[in-house]
């Protein structure tokens, strides 16, 4: 048996017919083709599936899709474009904040939530706030540098506005 769920993803409205047990991650990745929502451990440990729901970072593998109905969902696909990267993405590129990049969408989105909450985080704070993400390639130091660089960029942008 299926239910109808309406989701607002990256500013666009979608309606899907799904069995109730499907998770937000399964719908975003499997049905809406948003492969940047990465399904890995599917038990809330690795953080690869992280998306922002109303600006909060959550494991999309743990939230039922139906619980995300009528809330604003942001995936990596909704943040910047190849021609026009978001400053956080640009900072990750410049600091080599990824190797295989499987974990990268999650890290970038959580960084966005973090910097909105704390515009000038210390390195140790960044590490703690991103502890919900595993990078098996071990890129943590450059990820932290990327977030610090992004913080500077965003602060400068804010001053210029």
């Amino acid at each position: 048996m299926t239910i109808e769920v309406s989701l607002r993803v990256n500013g666009l409205d979608h309606t899907v017919e799904i069995p109730p047990h499907e998770t937000l991650g399964q719908v975003l990745n499997g049905r809406l083709g948003l492969n940047g929502v990465r399904l890995s451990c599917e038990e809330g440990e690795c953080g690869a599936c992280t998306v922002l729901v109303d600006g909060e970072a959550i494991n999309s593998c743990l939230m039922l899709a139906v619980q995300a109905g009528n809330r604003d969902i942001l995936t990596i696909e909704g943040l910047g474009t190849p021609e026009n990267l978001h400053p956080i993405q640009q900072a990750f590129v410049d600091e080599h904040g990824f190797q295989c990049s499987f974990c990268t969408p999650g890290f970038v989105l959580s960084s966005k939530a973090l910097l909105e909450e704390t515009p000038h985080p210390e390195a140790a704070e960044i590490a703690a706030e991103l502890s919900g993400h595993i990078c098996r390639c071990g890129t943590y130091p450059n990820i932290i540098r990327a977030v610090q660089r992004a913080a500077e960029e965003l602060a400068e942008e804010a001053t210029n506005e």
Partner: protein, 769 residues
């Protein structure tokens, strides 16, 4: 080749060539592949560690609506496939199962849910056989035999000098043993294989570090010509040795052929952790002798590693025998033994992580006895350029036709160069070693239950191997002057698409932005040894450099022909433009050259550079080295070990891209540190089933678990053979963390521990529990 001129693009820390795809999430991974009309497969795994399949009845499963077909051992060829480096030997599907999780059958269905339901309907009867789980027990001839040819592989032995003489001349002899739990690759990315037949041709999309080898294996196993098999290697996240040739791919190909439709089998987290491969369970025992002046007189060690159900490795690859082989006497023996645990094989750093850590421990114990600083002890004893490579002595060198070797090759059997002293000395300075080092077994600070101390250790690995497969690359120059580099190395995230592009662009004298890398399509790439044994920067890099130089020469020859009789004989290229130092009027862009007809054939030119220079056998002269420094704090009440500070140094020759190499060095350090402190697979005692097949209970490091601002330094050296002087990068960093942390823990609390050094082990060693 190795002059230290300024390079145009080699040595620049440019962003990754695929950075935009990666940071926007657009990079497709093997599980993202969609082929029209593709169906889905799932694998049935054995619940038993050791059993014979007496009956396998698929009728109930086959008749489930939506099921398209099932393969069992009855569909599999009798042929036993072998993975690279003896990492697997067995049938695609067998009537015997050898570990909990072993593949029994595979179902293809219209959806994953239907395939999963069908698995429950496959009726299997097993004759249970006695299993064996402990490597030492499994060595006993009376132990249950996992393999038809017996559990024990012939021992690998390296001997030089005379151990007894060495013992005689020693002032101190230390003895110890060290056990290593099994580390898991624990990838974040999961792998999938999609296979589609078209007549007797098959296309396979999957993640593999060894696309060429996989292609050969599929051709052999399925009985089709190699030319009929196309493997398109996809990213799947990190690999570290997990994804070479595999049962996953061979089963998927078999299933796809049976049902006549494209099928995708995607492994879940538990399958990736528990049913494919892991690092071996290992144990080292041995002695080391030294003189009071700090020179090592002999090393004598025995090692055992388990191969799990299907591994066939006679040894774990231990170049550590070279690193410390300068002494006069040595004996290293390694034995591989089969057990009814999931297959064990090569994981990043291999025996240089385990055996390497044990040798470093023996060195430390001897240094304690003669009261010498561990840094000084290592500086005194490590291998130097020109020293013999003990691992290569004997048969390998003897088999070669030395008379036929080209001029200019390095002397085989001897180390061609190292910057390990440089790394140790500069690393010590950056770390503040002299300020932080107190004395053996003495913490530098005590605060309540906390003890601080430092440690230093070294490591080594091969710069790739000539064994099993040559390396080759192609460089195609296109009509607009852009180029493509084809080299079969897969895409695992080490940044090799970028560094190989830098090598090619440098040699070809074009902008790296005008050069694309094709790293995984075996239809496009010439066969080449995959990204294993630290091949890529060194051996694939050589092949790339050679092919790019060939392309450049073809361009210059073509330009000369186009310029006609007045062509100067000193043509060269820079930034995609052919010029002449002696004649400033000569200036031809690549695009112009490519669009100008050749005066002989009246066609536009074709520029196709290929590797033609054979590379000297790297195992016989090249090594790269790591030296790591760490400060730890041990809590003697809780047993916790915190890493406070870390400096990783590495001798990788010319640094192709400092940010890429920095990530490989720190990434390797984190992987090694994780193994040092928390990573271990737990096996159920009665079944060998893995009890922690996932991140919940297999603890890998997260950002707060490792120092957030570690230091990274590169040794000052340039290899005479490697492309622009570069050596390898990815595995040596994994070898030094365990011994460095281990030494620091000894200095903090006076105990030597097995790996990983869990809090329980710390407290047990301190007599607290």
């Amino acid at each position: 080749m190795s002059d230290q001129q300024d390079f145009t693009i080699v040595g620049k820390a440019i962003p990754l060539k695929d950075a935009t795809d990666k940071v926007t999430g657009r990079l497709k991974f093997s599980g993202d592949i969609r082929v029209p009309d593709m169906v889905h497969g799932k694998i049935l795994h054995s619940p038993h560690p050791h059993a014979r399949i007496t009956v396998i009845d698929i009728r109930r499963a086959e008749s489930l609506p939506g099921v398209l077909g099932i393969v069992t051992h009855q569909d599999a060829p009798a042929w036993e496939w072998e993975n690279c480096w003896h990492n697997y030997g067995g049938r695609i599907l067998d009537d015997k199962v050898r570990f909990v999780g072993d593949e029994v059958a595979a179902v293809a269905a219209e959806s994953v849910e239907i395939a999963e339901a069908a698995l429950e309907l496959i009726d299997v009867e097993y004759e249970i056989l006695e299993p064996t789980f402990d490597p030492i027990e499994a060595l006993d001839p009376d132990a249950p035999q996992v393999r038809a040819e017996g559990n024990a592989r012939p021992p690998t032995e390296v001997v030089w000098g005379d151990i007894d003489e060495g013992a005689e001349m020693s002032d101190v002899i230390v003895e110890s043993s060290m056990a290593f739990d099994s580390q898991a690759y624990a990838p974040i990315g999961r792998n999938a294989c999609t296979a589609q037949w078209d007549g007797d041709r098959v296309t396979v999309w999957t993640c593999t570090q060894t696309p060429s080898e996989m292609r050969d294996a599929i051709a052999r196993g399925l009985g089709v010509p190699v030319s009929n098999v196309r493997v398109i290697s996809q990213p799947c996240g990190s690999s570290f040795g997990l994804w070479w040739i595999g049962s996953l791919q061979l089963i998927t190909v078999l299933l796809a052929r049976k049902i006549g439709k494209a099928v995708q089998i995607s492994l879940d987290q538990e399958e990736c952790f528990a049913t494919v491969k892991r690092r071996h369970l290992e144990r080292s025992t041995g002695r080391l002798g030294a003189k009071r002046d700090g020179s090592v007189t002999f090393i004598d060690l025995e090692h055992v590693h388990d191969n799990g159900g299907y591994g066939l490795k006679p040894d774990v690859g231990f170049l550590t025998v070279d690193l410390w082989g300068a002494g006069p006497n040595g004996r290293f023996i390694d034995r591989g033994v089969s057990t009814n645990l999931v297959t064990a094989g090569c994981m990043r750093g291999v025996g240089d992580v385990t055996m390497g850590a044990f040798v470093e421990r023996l060195l430390d114990m001897a240094a304690v006895e003669i009261d010498m600083d561990p840094l000084e002890f290592r500086l005194k004893n490590h291998i130097r350029a020109g020293d013999p490579l003990r691992a290569m002595e004997g048969e390998t060198l003897d088999q070669m036709d030395h008379a036929s070797l080209p001029d200019g090759w390095p002397e085989l059997g001897k180390l061609d160069g190292e910057a390990l002293s440089d790394c140790l000395i500069r690393g010590a300075e950056a770390f503040g070693w002299n300020e932080k080092w107190t004395d053996w077994g003495k913490p530098s600070a005590v605060d309540g239950p906390k003890r601080r101390a430092v440690g230093v250790a070294t490591g080594v690995h091969s710069c790739g191997t000539e064994d099993e497969y040559p390396v080759s690359a192609l460089v195609r120059v296109h009509s607009d002057g852009s180029a493509t580099l084809h080299c079969s190395m897969g895409r695992q995230g080490q940044g090799s698409e970028t560094t190989q592009a830098q090598i090619a662009a440098e040699a070809l004298c074009i902008s790296v932005d005008r050069l694309r890398v094709e790293a995984g399509d075996t239809d496009a790439c010439p066969p080449s040894h995959g990204a294993i044994a630290s091949n890529t920067s060194y051996r694939t890099g050589f092949a790339t450099w050679d092919a790019a130089l060939d392309a450049k020469q073809q361009i210059l020859d073509t330009a000369a022909m186009q310029l006609g009789g007045s062509a100067p004989d000193d043509l060269d290229m820079r930034d995609g433009v052919v010029f002449s130092p002696s004649d400033p009027t000569v200036s031809l862009t690549l695009e112009e050259i490519m669009s100008t007809y050749r005066p002989d054939s009246m066609t536009p030119p074709m520029i196709l550079g290929r590797t033609s220079t054979p590379m000297p056998p790297s195992m016989m002269y090249a090594r790269y080295f790591a030296a790591h420094f760490v400060e730890v704090e041990v809590d003697v009440d809780t047993g916790e070990i915190q890493l406070l500070d870390y400096v990783a140094t590495q001798d990788s020759g010319t640094v192709l891209n400092a940010k890429v190499l920095e990530n490989q060095v720190i990434g390797g350090a984190i992987l090694g540190a994780g193994f040092a402190l928390t990573e271990r697979l737990a096996f159920e005692p009665d079944t060998g089933k893995i009890l922690n097949p996932g991140f919940l209970d297999y603890k890998v490091m997260r950002a707060p678990d490792f120092p957030i601002d570690p230091g990274v330094l590169f040794g000052d050296s340039h290899d005479p053979v490697g492309a622009f002087g570069a050596k390898s990068g990815g595995e040596a960093p994994t070898t030094a963390p365990i011994p460095a942390i281990s030494q620091a823990v000894y200095n903090a609390i006076g105990v030597w521990l097995d790996i990983p050094m869990t809090p329980e082990r710390v407290l047990e060693a301190l007599g607290k529990i």
